[in-house]
Amino acid sequence: MSVQILGLKEINGPLVVLDGVKDVGYDEMAELSLDNGTHRTARVVQIDGDRVVLQVFEGTNALSLGNTRTSFRGHPMELPLSPELLGRIFNGAGAPIDGLGPVFAEKREDINGHPLNPVSREYPLNYIRTGISSIDALVTLIRGQKLPIFSGSGMNHNKLAAQIVKQAQISEDKGEKFAVVFAAMGVKNDVADYFKRQFEESGVLERVVMFLNLSSDPIIERILTPRCALTAAEYLAYELNMHILVILTDMTSYAEALREFSSSKGEIPGRKGYPGYLYSDLASIYERAGIVKGVGGSVTQIPILTMPNDDITHPVPDLTGYITEGQIVLDRALDQSGVYPPVSVLPSLSRLMKDGIGEGYTRADHPDVANQLFSSYAKVQDARALASVIGEEELSDADKAYLEFGRMFEKYFLNQGFDDNRTIEETLDLGWDLLSMLKKEELDRLDGKLIDRYYNPQRAERFKTQG
């Protein structure tokens, strides 16, 4: 360890300023030793000649201008990596908290990563079967994709994420290895426990790497949490050739931590007080999903974020949507009417599905069925809007049929149990059953051949008897 610097020049929120520092690099790590024998970690965030600004991960409580010695480590923040990561639990800054001791590192990597060269990316094509009809049929998840869940406080996004993890791994075959990297940022203790229990029950715990930054943990660590998690994910995917599903929850807490940090640095705020670089910062996380050419593994991301006040135009969901390849939006009205998972179909989207479904991937009729379901369900909304003005009785027969279709679609297609794991055939057949409720002329997104093959009003009989 190099020279120690006695004392501090200035303390401001999580930031401390040192004077007379030489030979320190931007982004370098430092260690603060307090007189009482405790240590804190910090990172260089600004350099002006020999004046250096550090951000202290654990906060600046109990620091004074005189009671610390600072030493610099000579390298940026790195995460020790080895296959032993699997099954371990770390805090938000990558230190083990499961009592099993430190990880014996085979290599260390800068947690900020490097941008993946677009020419070295492989375009994602293979779909991941989640066993959830609304997702498989309408917002298909593709390996190497980043597909966030836009939710709100009190909705069961955690349950949905747990179900995806539980069911997605089953479709793994051909000897491919699958693992989960789970990063919790500012989540409640109960939520972290819930995921731990779910991983245990579905028997994947020994293939999960957990990074936990609970809501009471320091916010600076929260900013590091997704980066540590993705560094671990990239290592497992690109060096050990595993297929990694990364769950990041909750990105809103992450962005809030970033805002807090930014304002303590005195930066000029952008929209709603978030720093102007929020987009670039979120991108540096989300863009770490993907597949590298010539490498066996992949990194798939499912970030979860709670939209403050269910507002999809809030900066966090808004900027996320601009970076990610689609979104799964949960709807409070559906949730309240007991539909699980409450996927709001119309604003949900998977940008990569068009190339990963259909002949050779799922089933030849998949793109058209998905298209038709979207289009018909959009008409349900029109009919409902009209019904709320003039009453259901006054509607035309066609509109009444749409209302009925909408009800059954939500009841049978969207709604499914936590243990209900549907195959893609079951899901698509169910889609045809529902479309068969409508008149043939209404199916304007399907061509004649498909209609001849699958369309049959008899299929819809069961909805009538129960309706």
């Binding site: 350099i47 987009y279 863009e287 390849e325």
Partner: protein
């Protein structure tokens, strides 16, 4: 005394007490030789924005000037290539530093060892002016590259090599300028990215950029040399629309700038363009394309530069007499890069944290479009089509509003259309094109009054529908009189059968103007014939029951682009089906 780094804050680096640098000069920072640009000078400190990550950079590391502003290298080898925001070829970077982009990689933008079949077009003793072509070579099978005297150079050719194979750095001719300097001419030249390349004069706009997309060509056309903005929230299909235009518009050269967008999308463009065949030249699309990919996780300062790099490359090909179209996806990311750097410089923010100079920067960019007479007398154009990603899908935000002031075609993407999977989700009521009047003579010359008349009637029916839908929303469709129901039904045919276009269908992905006109005529013929029935009291529900609507909607799939005579079959079909009603 050598200049050294004094302070570091993200991509902004300062050097103290120096008078060595000039504004916008390109500099090399640190031992890794990171590329940067001088963006501010005071007598105390020179401010540099660095185009690469500054992690591990230390104060005291050397900063070295290049003596020239940030420039791009221009010459054969640009086409088919893919660059980052400061014209570094990504394929070569991948070969050097692997799948992840390292710092300080210095590679030539064009292949230095490739030999081109060069034909000299000048002889010793020729008097040549700036912009004159002195050599040509086939750059790709589709495009002939013309090496031109850089602006500002003129004089007499004193020697010229024979035709033959040369690399880009070989001297093929020598020029003696008027002040007696001898300038060796290679196939390359440099040009600073923030300075527009000079032209002889601007021409009025009068030719459309045909895109093969019905809603654009028919309702809101764009001209060659024009500017258009595509604003839309996420998921409304900005990128899809840009891809469609890049694939099918009738420009000679496409410069596609992926500015702060997704990595996987750029990979898709790369793969797709390699497989696609350009209908005009019969060659791969990549042969006429330059890609600039500065994805959202690549350094933000290079994102700011990527737009200028792109437009400079475009102007260079325009100078050769080509029609170039630029797709910038997305200009909002570029504006955000401006904001981010402005914040680091602690400048006074204007609206929503954007710097006060945002409008003037946008204007500077869009004004580089145009239909020009070049210095060498040839004519070429640069068309700019910029995507805008409004925050929160709110078109009143500063980037959208300021862009609106500087573009003349505005293609507003609509969330509700996208939710209903109506693509392209260009809203026909809020979009507009100011080019209609200027392009009218072109349409008139080719198609007589017919095209413009059909267009006007189609847009009237859509406007009428929008008005009627206000009523329908309140009281339902049943109470409308039959003729108004027919307006709604016809508008549906227009929306589903004409405006909706399937990018994945082999015939529907690109539709020539002749077919667009034919489709409008069929729809309007149906409208006129059915209107007679509706006026005489025949219920519209009986008309739709004949299935004629369905036939017209499927017309786009059933009449291939090369068998337009099939359109004629629809007139007797409409007559027959309508005669069944009664």
């Amino acid at each position: 005394m050598p200049n050294t780094v004094f302070s570091i804050n993200g991509p902004v680096v300062k050097v103290r007490n120096t008078r060595d640098f000039s504004m916008m000069e390109m500099v090399f920072v640190g031992h890794k030789r990171l590329i940067g640009e001088v963006i501010g000078i005071t007598d105390q400190a020179t401010t540099i924005q660095v185009y690469e990550s500054t992690t591990e950079l230390k104060p005291g590391e050397p900063v070295e000037g290049s003596g020239a502003p940030l420039s791009v290298t221009l010459g054969p080898g640009l086409l088919t290539n893919i660059y980052d925001g400061i014209e570094r070829p990504l394929l070569d970077i991948a070969a050097r530093s692997g799948a992840f982009i390292g710092e300080g990689v210095s590679v030539s933008p064009v292949d230095l060892s490739k030999k081109y079949e060069v034909t000299l077009t000048v002889h010793p003793g020729d008097r040549v002016e700036e912009g004159a072509v002195y050599a040509t070579c086939p750059e790709t099978p589709a495009i002939v590259h013309k090496c031109m005297l850089a602006p500002g150079l003129s004089g007499e050719i004193i020697s010229a090599e024979p035709d033959g194979e040369y690399t880009v750095n070989d001297v093929v001719a020598c020029l003696r300028t008027d002040d007696g300097r001898e300038v060796p001419l290679t196939l390359l030249q440099k040009w600073p990215i923030r300075t527009p390349r000079p032209v002889s004069r601007r021409l009025p706009i009068e030719r459309p950029l045909i895109t093969g997309q019905r809603v654009i060509d028919t309702l809101v056309p764009i001209a060659k040399g024009g500017t258009a903005a595509i604003p839309g929230g996420f998921g409304t299909g900005k990128t899809m629309t840009q891809h469609q235009l890049a694939k099918w518009c009738d420009a000679d050269i496409i410069v596609y700038i992926g500015c702060g967008e997704r990595g996987n999308e750029m990979t898709q463009v790369l793969e797709e363009f390699r497989e696609l065949i350009d209908p005009k030249s019969g060659r791969a699309m990549t042969d006429r394309t330059i890609l600039i990919a500065n994805t959202s996780n690549m350094p933000v300062a290079a994102r700011e530069a990527s737009i200028y790099t792109g437009i400079t490359l475009a102007e260079y090909y325009r100078d050769m007499g080509y029609h170039v179209a630029i797709m910038a996806d997305s200009t909002s990311r570029w504006a955000e890069a401006l904001r981010e750097i402005s914040g680091r410089l602690e400048e006074m923010p204007a609206e929503e944290g954007f710097p006060a100079y945002l409008p003037s920067r946008l204007a500077e960019f869009y004004e580089r479009a145009g239909y020009m007479v070049n210095l060498n007398g040839s004519e070429g154009s640069v068309t700019i089509i910029g995507a805008v990603s409004p925050q929160g899908s709110d078109f009143s935000e500063p980037v959208t509003q300021n862009t609106k002031r500087f573009v003349r075609a505005f293609w507003a993407l609509d969330k509700s259309l996208a939710y209903a999977r109506h693509y392209p989700a260009i809203n026909w009521t809020t979009s507009y094109s100011e080019y209609l009047d200027e392009l009218a003579p072109y349409y008139r010359e080719r198609y007589g009054e017919e095209f413009l008349e059909c267009r006007q009637r189609i847009s009237n029916i859509l406007a009428e529908e929008a008005r009627l839908m206000e009523i329908v929303k309140l009281i339902g469709a049943d109470v409308l009189p039959e003729d108004q129901k027919l307006v709604i039904e016809t508008a549906r045919l227009i929306r589903v059968g004409f405006l909706q276009q399937n990018a994945f269908h082999a015939d529907d992905t690109y539709v020539p103007l002749e077919k667009q006109l034919g489709m409008m005529q069929v729809i309007l013929y149906f409208y006129d014939s059915a209107m007679k029935l509706a006026k005489s009291g025949v219920p519209v529900s009986l008309i739709t029951k004949t299935g004629i609507s369905d036939d017209i909607i499927k017309l786009k799939y059933n009449v291939p682009n090369n068998q337009l005579e099939k359109l004629q079959e629809y007139y007797p079909l409409i007559d027959r089906k309508l005669s069944e009603v009664k």
